[in-house]
């Protein structure tokens, strides 16, 4: 008699525990994404960030409003990393414009030069140019190009201007290398 009561009690507890576990598992799928974000870094790795973990920029471009928005995008995720150069600080990257008839819209190199090709930039929308500025700064921060069109680090020109989960994961991974 006592044994049956104990069995019933444990059975009831078991059903309740099972219900709670299943509910928790179901909720975890709803709350957190099913996929994991992928980090992509420059390969072979390089960045232009200085030993103080700053990327100080200098120079001029015709696309300054879009460039400043790009700076705000990255600093919105990790504040204070990208800064405008001052007389007291040595620049890490220099921005400039050039003109060349080609499919290249902009480039970013390990010697700290970010160049915007007026031939392509002048016919782009502001959103496209902001995306290009964001991607070029991303390269200087150590992030690699991706083949995912929703990433700001996607190789080709589109109008994506906000950081995806992949972009953030890449920045997190690069930051550990600074």
């Amino acid at each position: 008699m006592v044994n049956e009561t104990v069995k019933k009690a444990f059975g009831l507890v078991g059903v309740v525990v099972m219900f709670l576990v299943l509910t928790a598992v179901a909720l975890s799928f709803v709350i957190s994404p099913v996929y994991a974000a992928t980090a992509t870094l420059n390969n072979p790795y390089w960045d232009c960030v200085d030993s103080g973990k700053h990327l100080d920029w200098d120079g001029k471009t015709n696309y300054m409003p879009q460039f400043e928005s790009a700076v705000n995008t990255w600093n919105g995720y990790k504040s204070g990393i990208i800064r405008k150069d001052t007389v007291w600080i040595i620049e890490d990257v220099k921005i400039s414009d050039y003109y060349e008839v080609s499919s290249v819209a902009a480039s970013s190199s390990s010697n700290g030069k970010i160049k915007f090709n007026q031939y392509n930039m002048d016919v782009n929308t502001n959103a496209q140019n902001q995306k290009i500025c964001t991607a070029m700064l991303g390269s200087a921060l150590g992030l690699g190009a991706t083949s995912v069109s929703s990433d700001v680090m996607y190789t080709y020109s589109n109008s994506v201007t906000s950081l995806s989960a992949n972009d953030k994961a890449s920045y997190d991974a690069a930051y550990k290398k600074y």
């Binding site: 420059n42 072979p44 220099k94 400039s96 050039y98 060349e100 008839v101 080609s102 499919s103 290249v104 819209a105 902009a106 480039s107 970013s108 190199s109 390990s110 010697n111 030069k113 160049k115 031939y119 392509n120 016919v123 782009n124 290009i132 991607a135 070029m136 390269s139 190009a145 190789t155 080709y156 020109s157």
Partner: protein, 202 residues
């Protein structure tokens, strides 16, 4: 006497220092650069680019280019550097067949290729995933006419190696490019004629 020795030692040290600096900055000859272009004999410094088109879609690359042609890379002319020290290699080429546009054939032309040997000759600087043409090889080049009349090949898929040099028409890359040309995705943009174009008026 001691003073003479001291001055002599200082002079000797200066000469040795200058010699070392001079040796450290020794540039490669044009012949040597021609030999190593497109090889792995120097390390590569890859420059990241953002493209206005999808450069992996050959229909778009052909559509954006002004000139698409098969050519023999005959030699190395020189390297020019822009204000950010990015090299542009000037190759001597001979056009074998025009696919898009009409460049002069049976003549030595200069092809400007983005990328090349660095200012100090210690590495190659090139757009990521791009390749530098090798001398004596055959390539399909997808190039842009420049305002000054130059022809420029720049970035990914701007030169594709023809493996079957003796019969380029059956080479897989030639077949791919001619197919892409038939279905080209043309982009409306300002275009310039090359000085090597048979219809060039100056």
């Amino acid at each position: 006497m001691k003073r003479v020795y001291r001055i002599g030692f200082v002079l000797f040290a200066l000469i040795v220092s200058f010699s070392l600096v001079a040796c450290g900055n020794q540039k490669l000859s044009g012949e040597r650069i021609a030999e190593i272009l497109g090889t792995q004999e120097l390390p590569y410094d890859y420059v990241r680019a953002q493209y206005g088109i999808d450069v992996e879609d050959l229909r778009q690359v052909v559509g954006a280019a002004d000139y698409v042609f098969v050519c023999l890379i005959k030699g190395y002319d020189s390297t020019i550097y822009n204000d950010s020290d990015f090299p542009n290699t000037q190759y001597v080429i001979e056009v074998i067949a025009n696919i898009k546009g009409e460049l002069r054939k049976n003549d030595d032309l200069i092809l400007v290729k983005s990328g090349g040997i660095s200012t100090k000759h210690e590495k190659f600087v090139l757009y990521e995933y791009d390749i530098l043409p090798k001398i004596s090889e055959c390539y399909i080049v997808l190039a842009y006419g420049q305002p000054n009349g130059d022809i420029l090949a720049s970035g990914v898929n701007s030169n594709l190696l023809i493996i079957n040099k003796d019969n380029y028409a059956i080479d897989v890359k030639y077949i791919e490019i001619t197919e892409a040309f038939r279905n080209e995705v043309s982009s409306s943009r300002q275009r310039f004629k090359s000085r090597y174009d048979i219809h060039y008026n100056g």
